[in-house]
Every structure is written in structure tokens, then in C-alpha cells.
């Protein structure tokens, strides 16, 4: 989706929020040939454009970036494909998504990284592959980071599983540091979470389900932060951070000037483990929904800057993988189309986090985490990726109308506030709400 075209689009009358450029004001924006050509106060842009977009009453933001999605290709296109997953991304206002390598086969070679980016995949938004950190994500032998990076991978991870071995993780961080390559960790000490299907606590006990303890996440984050401090330039990114305890380690790391970043999902800042009723497997994901005090800590960290990005962990599954006993159901929920609405109702309206900060968590924050040059901002010369939304629009999310192939969401029928009106990728409108 990086092809440049002779095309211009003028976005007029909107309110621009571009946290990286410290802009929060009415601005017109001219996109030309896939780039931002000009940003100027209303009515100041001269000359004609091929197309005009009337953004009056709307927020204009840099294109949203999702650091954590599962597009399920290669190998699991019954759950999702790059085409359908990126269509859902476009509907949710995401102009760039970073896809996880836990596919069949695992994306652990440069060939697969190239394959993911091929035009034939039919992506509607930018796709940035994240490659496996170890061969077949088995946690034993590191992949060829240099070759993967060269093929276009933006980071490495064994997501879905942790990189558990101390030696393997140390070596991954050391090698990646030389390449300025981030290592993304799914922090879970799986020795502590065997047979577990939700968070440990009163709800798990009442339901008779084995619970994952917060320590299973926190202990790995703590170890990784210690390791990251050992190598100059090592970049550690904590995926879907969910516990108060793990946040403490991230804060410690940031204070010690380690290059540690983290993301939080909309479901973890919205829901609690006690919301799991009637063994509804659409509330089952990993990491699991946590306690009220964990959620409170996440809300504080989202507001104060400890959290770098909101990421959805969009994890589509077919109905036959979810319509089973809770303990046997697949982990994960879809999230691309509900992220903005949940952020606005939960973070902005209920917890008074400014819209500028929310936009930052969707744009400049994630762009910084993976060093996505020219994205996450709309300064002149950036990629012409724009998300236009109505921050006050109330709407009801209907899973049946999702653009994803899968329907596994706990938010079906939820009344949300904040709706994407247009998603622009490389200067082209790829999604336009009616």
C-alpha cells in the first residue's frame, strides 16, 4: 500500500489532533501523491484538489496504528485473511496493522515475511509483519533477525507463547539491540498457567476454573526488564500488559532508561474478570481479564504516559473454536472495530483522559514503539494515512455486521461513542461510513 499516485485530497474544516506535532486545532490538510503536502489553518490552503473531504465537526488524526493483530495467514484463513482482517482494520480506523507470526506455518523466515506483504494478499491498509523470534516459535533457536528485518519485519516475537528461557531471551535482546530491532514479549510464565482459562481470583473460584496469577505475567516482565538493561540499545516491548504488578516493572525499566515500552488492549481497560458470566467464551483471552485493581492501575498508566500504545490483540476464531466448553475454547477476541469506541467511552468519558492522549495512544505512541518512520503523525512529508472520526457519535456495535470473518467479541450489542467516518491510506479513502 505504499505505491504513490498522482492524486490529491483536501480534508477541509476538521479539527486536527496530531500529538506528535503538538497540534490540537482546526486545520485543513492537503494530501498529495501519498504524502501530506500541507497542513494549514482553515481556508489557507490554496489551489485545487482532485477530491475534497468535508470534515466539519469531525476529528482528523494521523492514521491509527495497531501493534498487535492476528490476521491468521498463512494457514488459518477460515478464521481471518489479510484481506478481511485489514477490512476490519479500515472499518475501525486503523491505517496500519502489525501482524503476529503465530500462523501455520509460523512466520519465521524472510520468505513468509515477503509473502505477507505481497499485493496479492489484498490488504486494505498497511501491513507490517512481525516475525517469530525463535524457529517455529518453539523457544529454542533464534531466527535470522537480520534477514527478517531486511525482508520487512518490524519486530520479533513468539506471541501466543512467551520466550521463556532466560538464555534465549538474553540472546534475542542482545542480537536485536545490534540491529535496533524490538523484541516483543508475550509475558506469561507458562509453568504457572497450565490448565488455566481465566484470571485467578474469586470469580475463577466460583466458576470452578483454574486461574492465572498476576505473577505469571509480572515475573516475566520483571526478568525481561532486567535483561534489557544489560544491553545498550536493547528494545523490549511488552505485549498486552494486563497487571498492576507488571506495570511496576515497566515503570522501573523506564526510570532506569531501559528502552522498554508496553501496550494495553481495549478489553483489559474496559472489562474485569468478574464480567465473565455464564462461561461465555467471548470473554476468554490471554492474558485474561483481570481484577478491578489491575484495571485501575492500567487506567492510571494509560493516562500518565507509562503505557505507550493501545493495541487490540485482534484474535479472530471460528465459531466451532468458541462454542465449546470454556476451558476448551480458544483464547482471544476480535477488536479492530471496537477499539476507538471503547477508548472514548471508557478512557475519555468515564475516566476523563483527554482526546489528545487517546489519539496519541493510537498514533504517535505505537509509531514510536516500532519506529515506523513517517507514520503516526501528519507533519508535512509524512505518509498520507489519516483517520477521521466523530468523537461524539453514539452507535451500536453489531458483531454480525463486522468486516472480520469471525464474530468472537464480548462487545456485541454494546453502545459505543466515537465512530470512524473515514480511513485514508496513502491518500486514498479505503473506508467511509455512511
Amino acid at each position: 500500500m505504499t505505491r504513490k499516485e498522482n492524486h490529491s485530497l483536501l480534508i477541509k474544516g476538521g479539527h486536527l489532533i496530531d500529538p506528535a506535532a503538538r497540534i490540537n486545532a482546526p486545520m485543513d490538510i492537503l494530501l498529495r501523491d501519498g504524502q501530506v503536502a500541507e497542513v494549514a489553518p482553515p481556508g489557507k490552503i490554496r489551489g485545487s484538489a482532485d477530491e475534497k473531504f468535508d470534515a466539519r465537526g469531525l476529528i482528523v488524526a494521523p492514521g491509527f496504528i495497531d501493534l498487535h493483530v492476528h490476521l491468521r495467514e498463512p494457514g488459518q484463513s477460515y478464521k481471518e485473511s489479510i484481506a478481511t482482517g485489514t477490512a476490519a482494520a479500515a472499518a475501525g480506523g486503523f491505517t496500519s496493522v502489525c501482524c503476529m507470526p503465530n500462523t501455520h506455518p509460523v512466520v519465521d523466515s524472510p520468505d513468509w515475511v515477503t509473502w505477507l506483504q505481497a499485493a496479492e494478499r489484498g490488504a486494505m491498509v498497511n501491513v507490517f509483519p512481525i516475525a517469530a523470534a525463535t524457529k517455529a516459535s518453539k523457544g529454542a533457536t533464534l531466527t535470522d533477525f537480520r534477514a527478517l528485518q531486511h525482508a520487512g519485519a518490524v519486530a520479533v516475537t513468539d506471541d501466543g507463547k512467551p520466550i521463556l528461557g532466560d538464555g534465549v531471551m538474553r540472546e534475542a535482546l542482545r542480537l536485536a539491540a545490534e540491529l535496533n530491532f524490538p523484541v516483543i514479549q508475550h509475558a506469561e510464565d507458562t509453568h504457572m498457567t497450565e490448565h488455566c482459562s481465566m484470571n485467578d481470583g474469586p470469580t475463577a473460584f466460583r466458576l470452578g476454573l483454574r486461574g492465572m496469577k498476576a505473577e505469571a505475567e509480572a515475573s516475566i516482565v520483571d526478568r525481561d526488564v532486567q535483561l534489557a538493561l544489560q544491553f545498550t540499545g536493547a528494545r523490549l516491548h511488552v505485549a498486552h500488559l494486563s497487571t498492576a504488578e507488571a506495570l511496576k516493572s515497566v515503570r522501573r525499566g523506564k526510570r532506569s532508561k531501559a528502552r522498554v515500552t508496553c501496550e494495553v488492549t481495549p478489553h483489559h481497560f474496559t472489562l474485569l474478570d468478574s464480567d465473565i458470566r455464564d462461561y461465555d467464551s467471548n470473554f476468554k483471552m490471554n492474558p485474561p481479564l483481570r481484577s478491578a485493581s489491575d484495571r485501575e492501575a492500567l487506567l492510571v498508566a494509560l493516562a500518565d504516559g507509562t503505557v505507550d500504545a493501545i493495541a487490540t490483540d485482534h484474535a479472530p476464531h471460528a465459531s466451532h473454536e468458541k462454542m465449546v466448553e470454556f476451558e476448551r475454547a480458544a483464547f482471544g477476541i476480535t477488536g479492530l472495530e471496537t477499539a476507538l469506541g471503547l477508548a472514548i467511552i471508557c478512557l475519555h468519558r468515564e475516566h476523563r483522559i483527554p482526546l489528545t492522549r487517546i489519539v496519541e495512544l493510537f498514533t504517535a505512541g505505537p509509531a514510536r514503539v516500532l519506529d515506523l518512520r513517517g507514520r503516526g503523525t501528519l507533519v508535512r512529508g509524512s505518509h498520507a494515512d489519516v483517520t477521521i472520526f466523530d468523537s461524539r457519535k453514539r452507535w451500536t456495535f453489531e458483531a454480525a455486521k463486522s468486516r472480520s470473518k469471525s464474530r468472537n467479541t464480548p462487545f456485541d450489542g454494546w453502545q459505543l461513542t466515537g465512530k470512524v467516518v473515514a480511513t485514508i491510506v496513502g491518500g486514498r479513502v479505503v473506508n467511509r461510513a455512511n
Binding site: 474469586p202 470452578g208 476454573l209 470454556f326
Partner: protein, 304 residues
């Protein structure tokens, strides 16, 4: 997905005290000795994904005593072994004409899942570590035969409470009726979180404290395999928690000793305790039949 059919019994937690009292009252009118064809021609399907002696046989005898036809399906030797999903098994049993499904399953919530997708009542015969409602009902029925009321009774529940569906159901039931419950066991079997299950639960690690002055002692089975991964050894467990004749004396003289079975003599209790006059372990099994007759009669709308 729909609401479970009327008459389903999925757990004690969501039952009202009056519903429980109604079932117990109905059970008192059920007599397994005289066949009463309340459920003549009804098809009762017993779907067991786990082994069972007491629960299976008493449900089966209860159903037959009421004139129903019963069919027993277990996971080995059925399509379940071939990978059929729980719901597909449910649809199949519905299609062959099941009027009610009694299910035992190793996963918590499995009976509810089935009930949400079938238009016939589903009865939970034990689901993972979640609930075992018919056991709690027969225990309440048994207590009522020895004590005037559940309200105000002091009950000690001792053993592996964390892994026990019997304990969860019993705690829900007894607390709804205002019994005072003391729980006792090592931390691995009785983590503090257990106290959040119902109001007014008391935890102690000392078995003498647990049973001092109580009206009811409920023991739970201890699985040796589970002790393997714990700090406490089998010998320690026996030394600290086993109910012996001398420990039993600490309880009230007329205290009743219960155990859902299967009992392991020499582990959670001595053989003398199992066979002593205060033990109602065998009576519990016997009471399982009229209680399950009542459950089935209610499930099939013949509770008159």
C-alpha cells in the same frame, strides 16, 4: 443461545431458597420402593464424560422408579471419542428423543453450555470443579432427617475444598439457609479466596477448631495424586486433618458425619469413623434416590 429450559438444574448458586425447599419437600414424597409412573415413556439420557458410581446409579434408579426409559452414554465407546463436540452430542441426543439430559463433565460450565443450546432440561451431575447440585440437595435432605432446620446449624467442611464441586454446591446451599460454615484444610486445598464464595464463611487450619461444637462434619475426598505436588506430605495431612474417633469427640455428641464418597479409609477418615453411629455416609447414598426422583419429576414438569 437461549435461556436453559425450565426444570434444568445447573447449580445451586442461582437457585432461590424456596426452590431448594420445594425440591426437598418433593423428595420427601418420593418413595423408591413403590413404582410411581410419573415419568412413564419419558426418555432420560445419562451422558457421562467422567466415571461415577453413586451419582449415575442413583439417577438411573430414580428415573426407572418413576417409569422413565433410561439410556446411558459414556465418553469412551461413543462418538465423543471420535471428536464430536459437546453441542453436537447434545443435538444428537435431542434428535433421538431425549426428554432430559443428565450430564457429568470434567469441564466447568459444560451443562450450562448444553442447556443454552437445547430446548429440553439439562441436569448437572457434576461439572469440573464447579458444582454438583444433586449432591448438595441430597446432603441437605440427609441433614434435615437428623436436624430440625438448616438455619443456625454449625457445619464444618474439611478437606480439598479448592478442587471440590461438592464443596462449592454445599457452601452455596447451606449459606442460603443461614447455616454457619467453617472450612478447614491446608492452604493448597483451601486458599483464602474460598471465603469469597458466600457470606460468613470462616477458615481455620486446625481441625480441632473446625469441629469443636459443630452439628455437622462434612468430609471431602482427598486425592493422593493432588498431594504429590504440595508442600504437605500424605503423612502430614493424615496427622493434621484426618478425622479419628478421638477428634470426633470434640464435636457435639449428636453431631452427624457426612462424606459424599468415594471415601478413602485411612486417609481423610479412619475406618472406625466411617462406620461409627454418627456416620451417615451410607444414608446419604440412599437418600440420593428420592432426591434425584424429585429433580427428575420437576425437570419434566410432573412435580405434583
Amino acid at each position: 443461545m437461549t435461556k436453559p429450559a425450565r426444570g434444568s438444574l445447573l447449580g445451586i448458586e442461582h437457585l432461590r431458597a424456596e426452590e431448594i425447599a420445594g425440591l426437598l419437600k418433593l423428595a420427601r414424597r418420593m418413595n423408591p420402593q413403590t413404582t410411581r409412573p410419573l415419568l412413564r415413556g419419558k426418555r432420560v439420557l445419562l451422558l457421562f464424560y467422567e466415571p461415577s458410581t453413586r451419582t449415575r446409579s442413583s439417577f438411573e434408579i430414580a428415573a426407572k422408579s418413576l417409569g422413565a426409559i433410561t439410556t446411558f452414554i459414556q465418553s469412551s465407546g461413543s462418538s465423543i471419542e471420535k471428536g464430536e463436540s459437546l453441542l453436537d452430542t447434545g443435538y444428537t441426543l435431542r434428535a433421538v428423543g431425549a426428554d432430559v439430559i443428565i450430564i457429568r463433565h470434567p469441564n466447568a460450565g459444560a451443562p450450562l453450555l448444553m442447556a443454552q443450546h437445547l430446548d429440553i432440561p439439562v441436569i448437572n451431575a457434576g461439572d469440573g470443579m464447579h458444582e454438583h447440585p444433586s449432591q448438595a440437595l441430597l446432603d441437605a435432605y440427609t441433614i434435615m432427617r437428623h436436624k430440625k432446620a438448616l438455619k443456625g446449624l454449625h457445619v464444618a467442611i474439611i478437606g480439598d475444598i479448592y478442587h471440590s464441586r461438592v464443596a462449592r454446591s454445599a457452601i452455596h446451599l447451606l449459606s442460603k439457609f443461614g447455616a454457619m460454615i467453617t472450612l478447614c484444610g491446608p492452604p493448597e486445598f483451601l486458599p483464602e479466596v474460598v471465603a469469597t464464595l458466600a457470606p460468613n464463611l470462616h477458615i481455620t487450619r486446625t481441625v480441632e477448631d473446625a469441629i469443636r461444637g459443630v452439628d455437622i462434619i462434612m468430609l471431602l475426598r482427598v486425592q493422593k495424586e493432588r498431594l504429590a505436588g504440595m508442600k504437605i506430605s500424605l503423612q502430614d495431612y493424615i496427622a493434621r486433618y484426618q478425622i479419628t474417633m478421638s477428634r470426633l469427640k470434640v464435636a457435639k455428641k449428636e453431631a452427624v458425619l457426612m462424606h459424599p464418597g468415594p471415601i478413602i479409609r485411612g486417609l481423610e477418615l479412619t475406618a472406625e469413623v466411617a462406620d461409627c453411629p454418627q456416620s451417615v455416609i451410607v444414608e446419604e447414598v440412599r437418600n440420593g434416590v428420592p432426591v434425584r426422583m424429585a429433580i427428575l419429576a420437576k425437570a419434566l414438569g410432573r412435580a405434583r
